[in-house]
Amino acid sequence: MQRHLISAADLTRDDAVLILDTAEEMARVADRPIKKLPTLRGRTVVNLFFEDSTRTRISFEAAEKRLSADVINFSAKGSSVSKGESLKDTAQTLEAMGVDAVVIRHGASGAPYRLATSGWIDAAVINAGDGTHQHPTQALLDAFTMRRRLVGRDAGLGRDLAGKRVTLVGDVLHSRVARSNVDLLHTLGAEVTLVAPPTLIPVGVESWPCEVSYDLDSTLPKCDAVMMLRVQRERMNAAFFPTEREYSRRYGLDGERMARLPEHAIVMHPGPMVRGMEITAEVADSDRCTVVEQVANGVSIRMAVLYLLLGGNEPAAAPIRTEEK
């Protein structure tokens, strides 16, 4: 494992499988009456959020607390950042207070990379989403969800997603979730197809390890998992598509389209969903939809990442498994 987690592309297959396996161990903690491990006792983690994001921040915070870390939450709003303080100064200020890891969410692509590589701070850096670049823990929790559902909770241990067919639908151009997922799913051996109107596919996509299609209906019968990406209504005003309704008709997932999926296939969404836009209520509330599961899995994955980056060699949750036996 590396010292930082900046991009899903930096993970080898073995790194990724190790994180998924560790997350399975962490998940068992959630089943216990006392959902806490002493692993990061005395370590301090700061959640440095320059962008609003309730769910990702809460997920990291839950993960950090379950590992007994001391948690500092820093949100840019109302802070010195809004008075013009630079990223460098903010990070150095926090490090001076003795922070071991920085979980950063930033609107500028590459901000976590800069933080990790510019010699500004020594702490481990975990990317919690940067601009339209990467969101590696999201890709990991998605892969975790797919492995559980498509391979099996116990059967999946030690295994990747070889041969699984995954389709990502929606605003790929502006999506860090899509970039991270394409990288990680490819590393794990899955076959990825992107589906979107051509306006929402980036120029240069031809170098990505995936297929691209403009037609959702022909893709659906061939997938094991379909992941719907959020489409912001503002995109309409920038002429990425003519109207919300047209987008919804051509690329939204409704009950009729869901019926075209193979029976075992799952429907995923990184949230927050825009019901009625990329996904109908019928699909969102169906048994096939893993949105809520993804949220729960997010905590396990973030625990695993924090443990592997900060926890060193101490056994994490190994005793738990023995208990269960």
Binding site: S86, L87, K88, H106, G107, A108, S109, G110, A111, Y113, R114, T117, S118, D130, G131, T132, H133, Q134, R176, R179, P202, V203, G204, V205, E206, S207, W208
Partner: protein
């Protein structure tokens, strides 16, 4: 007045010659040891001899595209520090871009910049006037007044911004014909580059940075060469950066359209692959392009499709680059490394000889900008604007040693060939053994 004998330099990279400077002019040139002293009226005992064996003697370089930042951003550069950087890099004349604060859109501002250059004396400073008031692209600035001012402006540009309104561009092209001026266009279609952070392509797709597509440059160049043809004016294209732009300019020239174009040193060497570091020292406008573009630009400079090299020297204070990519300023300093980069990319690759370098970096830019006394041949009777280059030198770029007030170079630690050792501005040494006077 000074009398200097430059001994044994390879003039324009050719045969070794002796060059005698008397006061502000070149008094004589001859094969090594062959000066006819009786004809010059100079006594051999009175001259200071500069041993230049093995070095290349060129006319002083002329930069058609420099940002001196004064007035307004003296924290990044001043006319003094910028012209000291110019002398260090072998320049004897620079054209100062108009995007200062206040904008150089009146006779008052251009005269101020011109006068500061004259007072400091390191390098001739020829101000460029804004095309439109406040660079806003709506209303023509008083181009005639700037031309008639003491600064005698002949080049007009809204550089930093594109004159994107086709009617304003047409009128500007027409209007400057009255006094032989030229409009230098920063070709960037604004709508296609909203939120642009880097070249649009494979790397931007991966990095999630807003794309600056080649077509945003090429569409403006295509429009402007057609406008220039229609109204019979000449147009100059700033910092051309794509293979497609080269094709358009080549086509326009073959049609007899009066178009000239410049390329920056960084676009001859660097590619967008460097942006993977997210280090804003590589953030520049127009952005670094692909390997294919770099090769097309080199070839075009060699065959004359691109007329000149211009630095687009763009100083920025440290804090404007020591941050995340999106927050960083665009631009790189270039005056002190330009000749080295051109040697690396054009001379050492065999694409251009030193006479060609003198043409692209001195004679042609002086002609486009009408810089009197610059870019002249190295021969008797010409103004002594000369430089000596140690072409055998190789060394790492160390920004700590820059004369410029800013350090935002993309070449820190990179080994580059060539070093300017001497610069003479009308016979007066501004740089001796690599040190400013």
């Amino acid at each position: 007045m000074s009398k200097i004998l430059i001994h044994g330099a390879k003039v324009l990279g050719g045969e070794q010659q002796d060059v005698l400077i008397d006061g502000e002019t070149i008094a004589a040139t001859a094969r090594q040891g062959g000066i006819d002293w009786s004809a010059t009226g100079v006594s051999a005992e009175d001259v200071e001899v500069i041993e230049a064996e093995g070095k290349v003697l060129l006319p002083g370089l002329v930069d058609l595209h420099t940002h001196l930042r004064e007035p307004g951003r003296e924290d990044s550069e001043t006319v003094l520090t910028g012209t000291r950087a110019a002398a260090t890099g072998g320049y004897t004349a620079v054209f100062a871009m108009a995007n200062t604060f206040p904008v150089a859109d009146t006779a008052g501002v251009v005269e101020q910049v011109w006068r500061l250059g004259k007072e400091h004396g390191y390098c001739d400073v020829q101000p460029i006037g804004a095309v439109t008031v406040g660079l806003e692209g709506r209303k023509l600035a008083e181009l005639g007044a700037m031309h008639e001012s003491a600064a005698g402006v002949t080049v007009f540009s809204d550089d930093g911004k594109c004159v994107d309104d086709a009617v304003i561009m047409r009128r500007a092209l027409e209007y400057v014909k009255a006094f032989g001026g030229v409009v230098a266009q920063h070709a960037q279609e604004p709508r296609l580059t909203e939120g642009a952070q880097m070249n649009e392509g494979v790397v931007s797709a991966e990095l999630g940075l807003g794309g600056w597509p080649a077509v945003a440059e090429e569409s403006i160049i295509a429009r402007d060469v057609l406008l220039a043809e229609h109204v019979g004016s000449r147009v100059h294209i700033c910092h051309l950066s794509t293979a497609g732009s080269v094709e358009i300019v080549r086509w326009a020239k073959s049609r007899g359209i009066q178009v000239t174009a410049e390329v920056t040193p960084h676009h001859l060497l660097l590619t967008d692959e460097l942006v993977r570091t997210y280090n804003p020292v590589y953030k520049v406008n127009p952005p670094l392009r692909t390997e294919r573009d770099v090769m097309a630009l080199r070839e075009a400079l060699a065959d004359g499709t691109i007329d000149i090299v211009a630095t687009d020297h763009a100083p920025h204070p440290h804090e404007d680059k020591d941050c995340e990519w999106a927050a960083a300023a665009m631009g790189m300093v270039g005056l002190e490394t330009a000749l080295s980069v051109v040697q690396e990319t054009m001379v050492d690759t065999g694409l251009l000889d030193w006479a060609g370098v003198a043409d692209r970096m001195s004679a042609k830019p002086a002609r486009i900008g009408q810089a009197a006394g610059h870019g002249r041949p190295v021969s008797a009777g010409e103004p002594a604007n000369l430089i000596l280059v140690d072409t055998a030198y190789r060394g790492q770029v160390d920004p700590a040693g820059f004369a410029s007030r800013s350090r935002n170079t993309p070449y820190q630690g990179r080994e580059l060939p060539g070093r300017v050792t001497h610069t003479w501005l009308r016979g007066k040494a501004t740089l001796v053994d690599g040190k400013l006077t």
